[in-house]
């Protein structure tokens, strides 16, 4: 994390939906070609990759179904237990967090809803409201 990244948001798409991540948590974006699937793990786990000699789990943020193979990039982010990856389709850009505004029911960028990604929630998703 660089001090210059504070207050910036990385925008990217997964399954056509716009997502954002705090640049302060972003390590890098790499090609996901060497992903190893791991059976007997939750559906949201796409597999693992080797990064700088360590095993890094890669997650999917799609709302339903098994993680897709369409996510051909991996966004590496910092997590308290070590780096984690998120499968993504395409990087859109980097914007100031002041450009992401709160709407009635979602945060938005230029009028389009943005799903903000929190690394801790990828590893241990919050229990949905009943």
């Amino acid at each position: 994390m660089q001090a210059a990244d504070a207050g910036k948001i990385l925008l990217f798409r997964v399954g056509g939906i716009l997502h954002g991540a705090d640049m302060g948590k972003v390590i890098k974006v790499v090609a996901g070609g060497n992903l190893t699937p791991v059976p007997r793990t939750p559906d949201r786990v796409k597999g693992v990759i080797l990064h700088e000699g360590k095993v890094v789990p890669v997650f999917s943020c799609r709302k339903s179904g098994k993680a897709s193979n369409a996510e051909n990039l991996v966004l590496l982010m910092e997590h308290r237990d070590g780096p984690i990856g998120l499968g993504i389709d395409k990087v859109i850009g980097v914007v100031q967090d002041s450009e992401i505004v709160s709407g009635d029911d979602a945060v938005k960028y230029r009028g389009e809803p943005v799903q903000m990604i929190i690394p801790e929630n990828l590893v241990s998703p919050p229990i949905p409201d009943k």
């Binding site: 791991v38 007997r40 793990t41 786990v45 095993v55 237990d81 780096p83 984690i84």
Partner: protein
């Protein structure tokens, strides 16, 4: 049931403490140390039990089903059974094919990442690093513990 490439595996089993077996299940590679492996045989049809040359019948776990893969065997219908000796007796793991058997020095072992919770952490002790790729390291005893109650 016929022995698989006897020369290769005789050599492997003799020095099994320092060797790693890589094998395929549904197109994906897995690895395990040959410690506690007593034989590896080719089989014609995957079954829930097999009869050994000494007439002993042992239970087998179909890794395709255990790993949630489709189909019941490899493309040609044949497969392999990896037979283990454990404190609770012998058991087999059914897989599709042997990839290779290599000295442990050629495949460093990496820990399971703490960020990844769940059952997989028991089933796979970690990963082998082989040619810059990660291969899940199968813990055969944990597979047996998890699979036999499920009837796999």
């Amino acid at each position: 049931m016929g022995a698989l490439e006897p020369e290769k595996f005789a050599r492997a089993i003799d020095g099994r403490e320092g060797l790693i077996l890589f094998f395929k299940v549904a197109g994906l590679s897995y690895g395990l140390r040959l410690t506690n492996v007593i034989r590896i045989d080719e089989i014609e049809t995957p079954a829930s039990s097999i009869t050994l040359p000494d007439e002993k019948v042992i239970k087998c776990i179909n890794l395709r089903r255990f790993f949630g893969a489709e189909g019941n065997g490899s493309e040609n219908g044949k497969g392999i059974v990896i037979i283990f000796e454990s404190e609770d007796g012998q058991f087999g793991l059914l897989a599709d094919a042997v990839d290779e058997v290599v000295p442990a020095l050629e495949a460093s072992e990496l820990m399971w990442p703490p960020q990844l919770k769940g059952e997989g952490a028991k089933i796979f002790g970690g990963f082998f690093r082989r040619r810059e790729r990660l291969v899940p390291a199968v813990n055969a005893s944990a597979v047996r513990e998890a699979a036999l109650p499920e009837g796999l």
